[in-house]
C-alpha cells in the first residue's frame, strides 16, 4: 500500500464493497470486485466497454442484487437493503440515460428529493393534510434555491424537464441527487453525449460540490473519458472483463502496464494531462 493510498483511505470509507460477484446465467459480469470510496473524495471507475462498470453501479445503488459479496454504506451493511432504503441512508446516483420525472419541473425534482430527506413523513401526511397547499417552509426554499444557484439552474427552475437539453438534464439529476443530502453520489457516465462546453461545466460542478465542506459528499465517477476521470479523481479503480485489474492514484494508473494493455496501448489517452479540456480524450480509449 502506497503512502498516498493510506492517506486516502485512512478514514472509514463512506462506501465499501467487498467480493462483489454478479453472474448472468453463465456470464460473469463481475468477479470478486473490491471497491472503497473515502469521504469527501472523488473516486473514478474506468474500464473498456463491457468491463462491468454499470453493473457495479447497479449493485452499489441497490438496483441489482449481487450473486456474492457485500456492500457497506458508512459502516452499515446495506447488501440486503432496497434502492430506496440506500437512497435514504445517503446514497444517490445519476444515470447514463437520465431517469428524470418528465411530468415535473426542475424545481419539483429538487423539492421532492429534499422532502424525502428532511420531511419524509410528508410523503404520507400530506395526503390528508390540506396544509400541504401552504407555501413551502423557508428552510426548504433556501436549500433548493441554493442548489439551483450552485448548478446554474435558476433560470430553468420552472421548466418541465421534458423540454430541456441533455446537458441540463444531467445537471438536474445531479441536483436531485444533491438535494437528498447524500454522503456519496454514483455518477454513471455523466459526460457521454455532452459537448465540450457542457462537459467542462459539469466537471467544474463536481469539483465545487466536493470542495463544499458542509456537504461532506464523495463522488464515484464511472466514465469513458479516462483523461477527465484521471484529472478529477483522487483514486482510480480499473475494471476489465468484470475483474478489478488496478486500484491506485491517477499517476500510478497512468503507468500501470495492466491498464495499458486493457486499453490496447492507448497510451495517449491515458498519458494526456488534460485538466480543462475534459472532452479531449473522449472515445480514444475504445479498443
Amino acid at each position: 500500500m502506497t503512502s498516498t493510498q493510506a492517506e486516502v483511505v485512512a478514514e472509514v470509507p463512506v462506501l465499501l464493497a467487498r467480493g462483489i460477484t454478479v453472474r448472468f446465467g453463465g456470464l460473469n459480469a463481475l468477479s470478486n470486485v473490491d471497491l472503497d470510496v473515502a469521504p469527501s473524495s472523488i473516486a473514478g471507475l474506468v474500464g473498456p466497454n463491457g468491463a462491468g462498470k454499470t453493473t457495479m453501479l447497479a449493485v452499489l445503488s441497490g438496483l441489482l442484487r449481487p450473486t456474492q459479496g457485500r456492500v457497506w454504506l458508512r459502516g452499515k451493511d446495506v447488501t440486503e437493503a432496497s434502492a430506496q432504503a440506500r437512497a435514504r441512508s445517503g446514497l444517490a446516483r445519476t444515470f447514463q440515460q437520465p431517469e428524470l420525472f418528465l411530468g415535473l419541473t426542475v424545481r419539483e425534482h429538487l423539492v421532492l428529493a429534499d422532502r424525502v430527506h428532511f420531511t419524509p413523513r410528508r410523503l404520507w401526511r400530506d395526503m390528508v393534510d390540506p396544509r400541504s397547499l401552504m407555501p413551502a417552509s423557508s428552510d426548504e426554499n433556501e436549500r433548493v434555491d441554493g442548489l439551483l444557484e450552485l448548478l446554474n439552474l435558476t433560470r430553468v427552475a420552472k421548466a418541465p424537464v421534458a423540454a430541456l437539453p441533455l446537458g441540463v438534464c444531467r445537471l438536474v439529476e445531479v441536483g436531485r441527487a444533491l438535494a437528498s443530502q447524500p454522503h456519496v453520489i454514483l455518477l454513471d457516465e455523466p459526460l457521454s453525449g455532452l459537448d465540450m462546453k457542457a462537459s467542462e461545466n459539469l466537471l467544474s460542478v463536481f469539483q465545487r460540490v466536493v470542495k463544499q465542506t458542509d456537504r461532506d459528499v464523495s463522488l464515484l465517477l464511472v466514465e469513458h473519458d479516462v483523461a477527465a476521470v484521471l484529472a478529477l479523481s483522487n483514486w482510480i479503480f480499473v475494471l476489465d472483463f468484470g475483474e478489478r485489474i488496478a486500484a491506485d492514484i491517477p499517476e500510478e494508473i497512468r503507468r500501470d502496464p495492466a491498464v495499458r494493455s486493457a486499453y490496447l496501448g492507448d497510451e495517449e489517452s491515458i498519458h494526456s494531462e488534460p485538466v480543462a479540456p475534459a472532452g479531449s480524450g473522449r472515445d480514444v480509449i475504445e479498443p
Partner: protein, 680 residues
C-alpha cells in the same frame, strides 16, 4: 382417467391456442391484446352467420371467416389503430385494446343481432364422427383441436425463430426505426403480425364455440383462463404458455371427474382454476423477487429519440404541484366548479324517475373517481374497480340490513373491506409491472364475480339484498345531494393529493421507476397506497349506488360491465375529477335517454361509442373533456401572454444567458425538445 385427460386436452388445447396467439402477438408487437376474446367471438359469430344462418358449407365458411375476415380485420385494426400505438406506453396500449373489448361485442350485436347461441357447430361436419382411441371415444372436433394446437406451436416457433420473416418481426419489435432504415417496411411486417393475431383469435373462437356457446361473456372468461397461461409464461414463452394452457384444461376435466358433483364447491373450484394458477405464479415471483420482463420502452435508442416525449403516457401531464399562477388557478378550477354547480342544479330541474337516476349518476361518479386516483394519478390500469364496488355494496347491505348498522357507517365499512382486498391484490401484482396489474385485476374480478357474487346468500333467489336510505335523505332528491356531497369530498381529497408531496412522489414514480427508487421513494409503497385508496373509493361508491337503488343484485357487478365503465371514463378524461362527474351522468343518462326516446336497436350504440372513445385514448390520452379544457386554457394563456415572447430552449449549456423564457405545455412541451434557436 385417460378419457378425462383426453377430454381435458380439448379445453386445454383451446386455452393453449388462445395463449399462444396472445404470446405471439405480444412478442411480435409489444401489445397484450385484451380484445382477443372479443375478436374470437366476432369471428366465431361471423362463421355461425355464414355456416348456419346462410347455409354455407364448412370449408367456404371457415375460409372466409377465419382465413379472410380475420386477417382483414387485423390489417384494418392495424391501419386505423395499432399503427398509432407503436411508441406509446404499455398502459395506453392496454386501454386501446380494452376499448376494442367493449366495442367489438357491441358491434357484433348490432350487426348479427343479440341473443346468446347455446350450441354452435365447430369445424367438423355434423353429425360429428366419433373415433375410438385406446378405447376412449374421441370426436372429430376434438381431433381438429389437437391438430390446431400442434400446428400453432410448431409453425409459430419455427417461423419466429428460424425464418427471415421471423427475423424481421423480431427486429421490428426491437426497433421499428432501424428496421425501416435497413430496408424492411415496418408497416407491412406489423400489419402481417396483426393479420396472424386475429387469425388465431378467429381459430380459437370457432374451435371454442361448440364447447362454450356463442356468448361474448363466455369468451372473455375463456380468454381470462388463457391470461393465466400467459402470466405463467411471463408474457413471452410460447412452450410454457401452451403447456400451462393444456394443464389447466386437464385439471378442469379431472376436477369434474373426481370432485363430488353434488357439492356447490365443485363448480367454484373449477371456475377458480385459472385464478389459482395466476396466484401461484405471482407468489412464486414474489418469493423469487423477480421483476418480470415486460417491454417498458418499445424500440431502440433511435426510436426513442424520434418519439415526442410526454405523449407516451396515459397519465402524465405536468403536476404543477408547486407552481400555479393565479390565472391558471382560475382557468383550472373555473370549469370544474361550473360543472359541479350545473350538476347540483340538475336534480332540481328534472322530475320523478329522472331524479332517482341522478342519485345513481352521482354514485357512479364516486366509483369513477377511483380510476381518477388509480389510473389518473397512479398510472395503473385496474380492471376490477366494479368488483370493489360490488364488495362495498354487499358489505354495506349485510351490515346495515342483517346487523343493523347505520347505513352510512355500513357504506364506509364496505369501502374499508374493499380497501383491504385492494391492498392484497396490489401487493401481489404491482411489484411485477403494469401489464400484470391489468391482467391480474381482470382475472380477480372474474373470479369474485363467479365465486362470491353468485353465492345463494347474496343472490337471494334473484332478489338480491335490500338497503334503506338514511333517515335524513329518504327522498331521491335529498339522496342525490348526499351522493354529490360524497363526490365533492372525494374530489377535494384527490385535488389535495395531486398537489401534495404524496402526489409529487407518485408523479415521480409514474415517470421513472429507477429515478424514484434512487431518490428514496418506494415505488411499491406509493402504488399500493394509491391502489388501496382507489379500492376504498370504489367500495364507498358501490355502497352509495346500492343505497340509491335500495337493493342490490350482486351479478349487476359484472366485470365486463366494469370494463365499459372504464371505457366511459377514459373517453371523457381519466385525470380530471370533473370528467368523473360527467362520466357518471353520461353513463346513466345516455342509455336511459336512448331507451326513452330512440328505437330499441340503438341500445348497444352507447357501448360501441364508449369503446371507440377509449380507443381514441391513443390520440388524446387525457380524454375528450380534458383535451377541450386544455385547449381552452391554452387560448386563455395565449391571450394573457400575447405581450411576452414565445418560449425558447436553445442551448445545451445551462448558462443562464441564452435560456429565455421557458414555459411548458401540458405534456412537457414535446415541441420544445426539438426547437433549437430563437422562435421569432
Amino acid at each position: 382417467m385417460l378419457e378425462f385427460v383426453i377430454a381435458g386436452l380439448v379445453l386445454g388445447g383451446i386455452y393453449a391456442i388462445a395463449s399462444a396467439g396472445l404470446v405471439i402477438t405480444y412478442t411480435a408487437s409489444g401489445i397484450l391484446n385484451f380484445a382477443f376474446g372479443a375478436m374470437a367471438f366476432f369471428i366465431a359469430r361471423f362463421y355461425y352467420f355464414l355456416h348456419t344462418q346462410q347455409s354455407w358449407g364448412i370449408a367456404p365458411a371457415a375460409i372466409v371467416a377465419i382465413g379472410l375476415a380475420g386477417p382483414l380485420m387485423g390489417v384494418f385494426l392495424y391501419a386505423v389503430l395499432f399503427r398509432h400505438l407503436r411508441f406509446t406506453s404499455p398502459l395506453i396500449k392496454v386501454v386501446a385494446t380494452v376499448g376494442l373489448l367493449v366495442a367489438i361485442p357491441a358491434l357484433a350485436t348490432i350487426i348479427f343481432g343479440s341473443g346468446a347461441i347455446l350450441s354452435a357447430p365447430g369445424l367438423a361436419p355434423e353429425p360429428v364422427h366419433v373415433y375410438q382411441f385406446l378405447g376412449v371415444p374421441v370426436t372429430l372436433d376434438q381431433i381438429i383441436v389437437y391438430i390446431c394446437v400442434v400446428a400453432t406451436v410448431v409453425v409459430g416457433a419455427v417461423v419466429l425463430r428460424y425464418t427471415e420473416v421471423g427475423l424481421k418481426v423480431r427486429a421490428m419489435v426491437d426497433s421499428p426505426a432501424m428496421t425501416d432504415l435497413s430496408g424492411t417496411n415496418p408497416d407491412a411486417v406489423s400489419a402481417g403480425v396483426w393479420a396472424v393475431s386475429v387469425f388465431f383469435a378467429g381459430l380459437t373462437g370457432v374451435l371454442a364455440a361448440p364447447i362454450i356457446g356463442l356468448d361474448a361473456t363466455n369468451f372473455t372468461l375463456l380468454i381470462a383462463a388463457a391470461f393465466a397461461a400467459v402470466v405463467a409464461a411471463k408474457l413471452r414463452s410460447l412452450p410454457i404458455a401452451v403447456g400451462v394452457g393444456l394443464l389447466m384444461g386437464i385439471a378442469t376435466s379431472l376436477a369434474q371427474r373426481y370432485l363430488p358433483p353434488s357439492s356447490q364447491w365443485t363448480g367454484e373450484i373449477i371456475d377458480a382454476i385459472p385464478f389459482i394458477v395466476i396466484a401461484v405464479v405471482l407468489l412464486y415471483n414474489l418469493v423469487r423477487r423477480g421483476r418480470v420482463g415486460e417491454i417498458e420502452r418499445i424500440g431502440g435508442a433511435l426510436d426513442r429519440a424520434i418519439t415526442p416525449q410526454g405523449e407516451s403516457r396515459l397519465a402524465g401531464s405536468t403536476s404543477s404541484a408547486l407552481e400555479t399562477g393565479s390565472l391558471s388557478l382560475v382557468s383550472k378550477y373555473a370549469g370544474p366548479l361550473v360543472l359541479i354547480i350545473a350538476a347540483a342544479a340538475l336534480p332540481l330541474i328534472v322530475q320523478g324517475y329522472w331524479v332517482g337516476l341522478m342519485a345513481q349518476a352521482f354514485a357512479y361518479a364516486v366509483i369513477f373517481l377511483s380510476w381518477t386516483l388509480v389510473t389518473g394519478e397512479g398510472g395503473m390500469l385496474w380492471l376490477c374497480q366494479i368488483t370493489f364496488a360490488g364488495i362495498g355494496a354487499i358489505t354495506a347491505a349485510e351490515l346495515a340490513t342483517t346487523h343493523g348498522w347505520p347505513v352510512l357507517a355500513a357504506v364506509l365499512a364496505g369501502g374499508v373491506i374493499a380497501m383491504v382486498i385492494g391492498l392484497v391484490v396490489g401487493l401481489l401484482s404491482i411489484r411485477l409491472g403494469d401489464l400484470y396489474v391489468a391482467l391480474v385485476t381482470l382475472t380477480f374480478g372474474l373470479l369474485v364475480e363467479n365465486l362470491v357474487f353468485t353465492l345463494p346468500r347474496f343472490v337471494n333467489s334473484g332478489l338480491g339484498l335490500t338497503l334503506n336510505r338514511p333517515s335524513f335523505a329518504t327522498s331521491d332528491r335529498a339522496y342525490a345531494y348526499l351522493c354529490l356531497a360524497a363526490f365533492v369530498i372525494v374530489a377535494l381529497f384527490i385535488l389535495n393529493y395531486r398537489r401534495s408531496t404524496s402526489g409529487l412522489a407518485m408523479n415521480a414514480v409514474r415517470w421513472s421507476d429507477a429515478g424514484a427508487r434512487t431518490t428514496g421513494v418506494s415505488v411499491v409503497q406509493m402504488k399500493v397506497t394509491v391502489a388501496a385508496l382507489g379500492a376504498l373509493v370504489a367500495g364507498i361508491g358501490g355502497g352509495l349506488l346500492a343505497v340509491a337503488q335500495t337493493s342490490i343484485v350482486p351479478n349487476e357487478f359484472d366485470t365486463f360491465l366494469g370494463v365499459v365503465w372504464l371505457a366511459v371514463l377514459v373517453t371523457i378524461g381519466i385525470r380530471s375529477t370533473a370528467a368523473a362527474l360527467v362520466a357518471g351522468i353520461s353513463f346513466v343518462m345516455l342509455p336511459a335517454l336512448a331507451q326513452a326516446y330512440l328505437p330499441s336497436w340503438t341500445g348497444n350504440v352507447p357501448a360501441l361509442l364508449f369503446g371507440l372513445g377509449a380507443i381514441s385514448a391513443a390520440k388524446y390520452p387525457e380524454g375528450v373533456l380534458a383535451e377541450q379544457s386544455r385547449r381552452f386554457r391554452g387560448q386563455l394563456l395565449r391571450l394573457a401572454d400575447r405581450q411576452r415572447a414565445p418560449f425558447v430552449v436553445d442551448t445545451l449549456s445551462p448558462d443562464p444567458a441564452p435560456i429565455d423564457n421557458v414555459v411548458g405545455g401540458d405534456h412537457g412541451a414535446p415541441e420544445a425538445a426539438v426547437v433549437v434557436g430563437k422562435v421569432p
